[in-house]
């Protein structure tokens, strides 16, 4: 048993070392101005599921230096998803947004929701996960204490820990679920009334504009801007921030989706 644990631990350490080596190599590419090399190396880390705010942040920097605004914004958003307190990512994101044509704000939930669920919007997902686990354990420990000391305050503590465990658990689950944020990948992304290329263009997105996607079908995505405008656009012209986190190569070169009739 202990041998197995040792083997697994050593494998994980070796893998961690390999990731660190790739990360360092990618940074070296970046320092020498080889931004495509840096992008390739950081994207390799992403494809190997080495999801870390630092990886996405540096990848965003490499994309920005390579002149690709949309994937840069998408990766900064990912970095902030994993670590909302990552100030450098927030600042670089704001810088990139200032270079977009429309400077559209990120679609955000209402202020009251952000205030009420502050832990969800301001804590990294790893912290949320650990807090959920800690409060879960605390809840059961409090219940065990109650067996020996059935005082009223112990019941209160148990109730509070249960609520906190549920709150952080729900937050962790929501953070790991499919994300709805997407970034326009092309210089001009027409958003139409329906899932048909013949449909009238309702408005246009520009590279780097962030939208939420509330529905996807047959290669089309229904997007909503911060101003509440909605419409359909081919999902190949969007970069989905995630999760799940996938390589952020723009897909605009792909074939247009088939037409549909959904409104």
């Amino acid at each position: 048993m202990s041998a197995t644990i040792l083997i697994v631990a050593s494998l994980l350490t070796a893998q961690g070392n390999a990731y660190t080596e790739t990360f360092t190599r990618a940074n070296d590419h970046y320092k020498t101005g080889d931004y495509s090399g840096a992008i390739q190396a950081f994207e390799q880390l992403v494809s190997e599921q080495a999801f870390h705010a630092a990886v996405f942040y540096n990848l965003g920097n490499a994309y920005y230096r390579a002149g690709k605004l949309a994937p840069a914004i998408a990766n900064y958003e990912r970095a902030l998803q994993l670590d909302p307190g990552f100030d450098s990512a927030r600042q670089n994101l704001a810088h990139c947004v200032s270079e977009t044509q429309q400077r559209l704000a990120r679609p955000l939930p209402p202020d009251w929701e952000q205030s009420l669920l502050f832990w969800h919007y301001h804590l990294p997902s790893s912290v949320t996960r650990w807090l959920a686990l800690a409060f879960w354990l605390a809840f059961w420990i409090t219940l065990a204490i109650r067996q020996f000391r059935p005082a009223r305050y112990v019941q209160g503590v148990a109730a509070v820990t249960a609520i906190l465990a549920l709150a952080f658990g729900a937050s962790a689950w929501a953070k790991s679920s499919t994300g709805t944020l997407a970034v326009a990948a092309d210089e001009a992304v027409p958003v139409r009334y329906g899932t048909d290329l013949n449909q009238t263009v309702r408005f246009e997105l520009h590279e780097g504009d962030r939208v939420t996607v509330d529905r996807r079908e047959r290669g089309w995505a229904r997007v909503k801007t911060a101003g509440g405008e909605t419409g359909w656009t081919p999902d190949s012209s969007l970069i989905f921030v995630g999760p799940p986190y996938e390589p952020t190569t723009p897909k605009s070169a792909q074939d247009p989706p088939q037409s549909g009739n959904t409104k």
């Binding site: 990731y19 080495a50 990120r106 879960w136 065990a144 509440g228």
Partner: protein, 605 residues
Amino acid sequence: MVTRSFLSALAVLAACSAWGEPAIRVSVEQTTVRANNPFGLKVEITGGRSEAPKISDADGLAIEPVPVQRSNQLSIVNGAMSQSQTLIYKATATRPGKVIIPPITARVDGKEISSMPIDLTVLEGKATAPIPRAQQPVRQEAVQDSDAAANAAAPDRTPTPEDAVLVTAEVDKQSVYQGEAVQLTLSRWVLSGVQASPYRSADPGYPDTEGFYTTELEPRQEDRTRGNWPYHLLQLTQKLYPTRTGQLNIGSWQFNGEALMRTSSGRLLRQEYALATDPIAITVKPLPPQPPNFSGAVGTFTFRQSMTAPAPKTAIQGVPFKLSLEVQGDGNPDSIGEPKLPPIAGATVSKADTVAPPNVDSSTGIVTKEFIYTITPLESGKLTIPPIEFCYFDPATERYATQVVGPFDMDARPSAEQAGAAIVTKEIPVTHGKVNITGKDILPNVDAPPSLRPYRPSAVVNITAGVVPALAYAGLAFMMARRRRFEHDSAYARSYFAKSNAHKRLLAVAQAAEPAEELCRAVTGFVADKFNVASAGLTSSDLRQLLETKKTGSELTESIVKIVKACERARYAAVKLSDDEIKALTNAADTAMNKLESVAKDAKV
């Protein structure tokens, strides 16, 4: 004095078709008319294909050479086919006195035929004031004259097949500006009781209107009296917007079909019709020199605005909101251009997005066109949308008119995102909360983090983390519950621990000074614990009674009683039990206690 000079056309027609001879007949509704009052002059040509008759003015009589109504009829009566053409001309007597309508000549199938002259008595005409231009009816041709002719019909005249189906076309004006609306009304009158249906399709269609942008209004059907006869009227209306200047023509509107009607003798008559209205010429004038802000709209319009901002007069920096400008009026929807939105300081404005297609009211033809602009405030603070103009040409006043909405003052609040950015960029000065002032360049890369590991959320780990504490707590809770029961339920505790206590006593029997007594205490103690009775003074007969009460079985009862009796005898006997006897009794007691344990467990004693 009114004299009836209108002969029975039906009889003539029937006679002509029977004989197959061409004939021409000229008639007027009244032979006494007033000077300068137009009246209808009806020319009927039967018996073959005819050319247009030669119409010429006479002394005291002016006849317009172009008929105001023309109808062709093809009828089959008892298998015999006949063709007839009816034309109505506008005639006006120019002086009082006796006036003669001269013979009218027509060529039918190459044969020239002439009508008989008609004497008219012309009375002095009533003096009429000149009609001012603005009130003057713009359209005179087809309907007015045909109406005049129809209204002049004698009330007691029997309607003829020519009266059964009529078509008219009228416009509300014949001289318009380019883009100005012309209303074309097409009417099909079918005499009540007559069943008329067009050939091929029930759709009456519209005339050729090349050079016009057209919109169709909702067709109207109603019953109406015309010339004292009841008709069913189908009215089609089109709004025509001339797209070029000069002379434009509205083509003739046709009705090709048949009608079924009853004659005065009660016979069913099937009449074929080939009716057509005359083309209508429209003169289209060019617009006066246009001002620079002219939108292209011609007509009368209203101009409104609405906004979809987050709150009234409030916007959020970086968050777009919509400004909707609505133009409503009677103009050509295609030519209504977007209002020119002036630049807005501190905000970007998108190109106008038109709600397509423009809404056209089907009963009035009023067009509503909406232009939507997306405005994104770049800075927080006061945001002013300058006045927005909409310039159009009003044909009623023959001038360009401009309507204005705004200006609008709004308050642009700082965005939540920008607030966040301002917090994290303490070293970079933030002025006016503008979006693009976060620094000249991005911040550099970070080094490799120490905890760079693959992100593999494990279901096993998650389930373990979630379930193990719950299971551990369940075990603890069970243990604590049993402990509490031992504390509060002595019968349960004695019964639960009876066997272990008895087993300890049995082990001590061999080393005891009085093994028989110790064995007896072990057995009676076990039974007493098991059934929660006092063990002191418990004899073999007490045990028998107790076990029989508890229905443990006669065999088991006997074996336990025997063991206890053997111990009782040994206690008072002179010779003590040997070690083998003690061992045998101990084994028997162990077996009996095991049996009693299982029996008590099964019976839940």
